[in-house]
Amino acid sequence: MMTRSDPLHEDHPMSRKTVALSVLLGLVALIGLSWAVQVVGWAIVVDDFAWDSAAGRRLMIAFPVCLIIGGSALWGLMRLKPWGDPMSPRTRKTYTRIALAVLVLIPATMVLFISTFSRENMYGIFSDSALSPGISIYAIVSWLVAVTIIGWAVLCTDEHERRANELSFITGGAIFITVTPAWWLAARADLLPQPNAMVLWFATVPTMAIVALWYQFR
């Protein structure tokens, strides 16, 4: 029996108000997020860009503001969900927390990208090039916060998704346990270069994601 507290009691009426609000939120999200991208692109294009310059300080303010505006509008649109099936409160909570983790990671990724970008080395973010201590600490803190939020999100997943996560972590652990010592031994015999933590990371994490998504959506 449906009660007033039943999440299906209000069954997503597509009133004119809902449609108008959806369109408005979609536009704000699109404008906000594209401005954020443009701000970053501008920082890349400008020669001799420096964070402590007037331009750098404007970027440090403009980028997160655009991100917050666009991200908030997108979040509002996801809450309104005018397009499809209803979502259980638990699922909505999980997705919201994951989105929060992504929002934490995006600025850190952009800062890392811009600080390591050069026309000679466009993918410097993936290299072992030097970083300033401030950027390094900011990136580390952002990563720790994002991982904590994702762990918080995992806590409220349903049992099916929890099983998917268990399998993905078992897979990741198996890859790490198997590959790391083998690579280390091979490096000691000069059969392979020295083990690289980020190579292991990029081998493990996408595989874990594929396993989790496969199990969840098969």
């Binding site: 299906l8 979502m87 349903d158």
Partner: protein, 65 residues
């Protein structure tokens, strides 16, 4: 494990997402249970039985007989 979840859902004209909302699980979880790819936990099985107001044994069958 076999189950009659899809039939029971169809009788009430609920989508998988709607059933998921009522059980507080994702649509994917409902789909996985209906297709036999995931056996629900005891607590979820009891919630399903309470939702449809029928005994668990009339919903789930492990074909052990």
């Amino acid at each position: 494990m076999n189950n009659r979840l899809k039939v029971l859902r169809a009788e009430r004209n609920w989508s998988q997402a709607e059933l998921g909302v009522r059980l507080d699980v994702s649509r994917q979880a409902v789909n996985a249970i209906e297709t036999g790819k995931h056996d629900p936990s005891l607590s979820l099985a009891f919630r399903i039985a309470r939702l449809f107001n029928i005994p668990i044994e009339e919903i789930f069958n492990d074909d052990q007989e």
